[in-house]
């Protein structure tokens, strides 16, 4: 038992320091304060590591990541502060081996209640935050085929195939491409499926992802906010070349998008079975 505890035992109840006056508590608090400050100061790092944002969905994800990291830092710092201080202050330095009987822990009801209440409040907060964010994107996820057909905006049929993606534009004469072209600032609805195993269609910088299931169609909607070339990956292990099942998404102005569509529509089919073919 520490000297401080012994001294405390010798004191009368009237002389006992209040819990916030105890040296151990103040030391732990100071360590917690420093760790929390450092953690919160760097709470932006995880979102920064996620890279470029090309949609409002990605902006939401990055903001959520930053807020949750900032909120989680003080919580984690409590554990780290108690652990660091305990390892230093109460490390056994007596004769080896240490005695079997160690001082027992004593419960402190106010501390337990405070810990439970704070944890509950934080949990409810992140739960509510998550519900709000999911509600914002769920309308697209719950779409039926009829609803997506009637919705405004571009519709792209995404087919996952071991090990390549291909995209079909039913509103544009069923042109097909291995590169996803979508117009900037316009809502695009994806109807995603697979012809073999389960894949997962993921536009990385737009933070939208949905499984591509054989025999079923899943939907997602995105409105790109940045022009450029972005990554499309398969996010569900699907065989030998799963890692190579990547392509690009080109977000361009409406004018450039229309030019690309015109270029694709200009390609005339020449079948191997027609006269002059095989």
């Amino acid at each position: 038992m520490s000297d401080t505890a012994l001294k405390e035992e010798d004191r009368t109840p009237a002389d006992a320091p209040r819990w916030w006056e105890r040296g151990d508590v103040r030391a732990v608090f100071l360590i917690w304060l420093i760790l929390s400050a450092v953690g919160i100061a760097f709470a932006w790092v995880p979102a920064w590591l996620m890279g470029l944002s090309a949609s409002s969905e990605m902006d939401d994800v990055k903001m959520t990541m930053t807020w949750f990291t900032a909120i989680a830092m003080p919580v984690g710092a409590v554990i780290w502060a108690v652990m660091i201080y305990s390892l230093w202050k109460w490390r056994y330095r007596g004769e080896q081996p240490p005695p079997d009987d160690a001082p027992g822990f004593q419960t402190n009801p106010p501390t337990v209640v405070m810990w439970i209440v704070i944890s509950a409040v934080l949990t409810l907060f992140v739960f509510a935050w998550g519900l709000v964010k999911i509600a914002a994107i769920s309308p697209a996820m719950a779409m039926t085929s009829a609803a997506t057909s009637a919705s405004s905006g571009l519709r792209v049929e995404v087919t996952g195939n071991q090990w390549a993606w291909n995209f079909t534009y039913p509103q544009l004469g069923n042109i097909q491409s291995d590169v996803l072209h979508i117009p900037l600032g316009e809502q695009t609805t994806f109807a995603v499926s697979s012809v073999d195993v389960i894949h997962s269609f993921w536009i990385v910088q737009m933070a939208v992802k949905v499984d591509a299931n054989p025999g079923a169609i899943t939907y997602l909607t995105v409105t790109p906010t940045k022009a450029g070339t972005f990554e499309v990956r398969c996010a569900e292990l699907c065989g030998l070349y799963h890692a190579a099942m990547e392509t690009t998404s080109v977000v361009s102005s409406r004018k450039d998008f229309d030019a690309w569509v015109a270029e694709m529509r200009a390609v005339k089919p020449v079948s191997s079975m027609t006269e002059g073919g095989a």
């Binding site: 291995d178 073999d196 690009t248 020449v270 095989a278």
Partner: protein
């Protein structure tokens, strides 16, 4: 002292274990290394992209592995469909690459009609037995030759896919296999990089939606193409 000895022994055992795993994996990779088939040079050619080196890759697609490139008995999987002579290919950078495939296998309807069309070739076309085409009926597909790379700032993008029309099983050649359809197509390479190719017509052993077995095995229906 005893604790020190135990700690050292634990460390040594750990290092030996990790080293053994590394050596085993390296050895397995080395055994799976395929003979690289470099493209055959045809000199240079005038193209829409200027004067470029012109090379050709000769491949064949067989309904089983007994044609010879896996050994006379067909190797470990004599019944597996296969490309020959190897699926590990090498072509020069900034070149026009012509691929000529002798397709000996029958076929059926492909699961994704996208791959019944020609994509990514130099002129958007391919040639089947001397006649140009850019699509074949989806129910006449024997195999495909589909090349792609992982999009990366370190290498140029490349996506080429050509359907290989099924051979007529009623026309049998002297080697006992159907008379092959010869499909020829060309594409441009950019800078150096590593790309992957495979057949997108699932005709494997029934596992993984018929993409198991030979479809997922380098040396049979999947391989690598290195641009050097």
């Amino acid at each position: 002292m005893r604790r020190l000895v135990i700690t050292l022994v634990t460390l040594v055992v750990g290092v030996v274990f990790v080293a053994a795993v590394g050596i085993t994996v390296t050895k397995a990779n080395a055994e799976n290394q395929l003979t690289v088939q470099p493209a055959l040079s045809l000199g240079t050619v005038d193209t829409a992209n200027g004067k470029l080196p012109h090379v050709v890759l000769e491949l064949s697609a067989w309904p089983d592995s007994r044609s010879g490139c896996h050994g006379q008995d067909g190797g470990a999987h004599p019944d597996w469909v296969t490309f020959c002579n190897t699926t590990s290919l090498s072509v020069p950078a900034h070149a026009l690459v012509t691929v000529r495939v002798h397709q000996y296998d029958a076929g059926e309807k492909i699961t994704n009609a996208y791959f019944a069309k020609v994509h990514g070739t130099a002129d958007g076309m391919a040639v089947l037995n001397g006649k140009s085409f850019n699509e074949i009926p989806p129910d006449q597909v024997g195999h495909t030759w589909t090349l792609r790379g992982i999009p990366s700032p370190n290498q140029d993008p490349l996506f080429v896919s050509v359907p290989l029309q099924m051979a007529d099983e009623e026309k049998v050649g002297d080697n006992g296999y159907p008379v092959p359809n010869v499909v020829e197509f060309s594409f441009y390479t950019g800078g150096p990089g590593k790309y992957f190719w495979n057949c997108e017509f699932p005709c494997g052993d029934g596992t993984y939606a018929r993409f198991g077995g030979p479809m997922s095995t380098q040396g049979y229906m999947a391989g690598e193409l290195t641009v050097v």
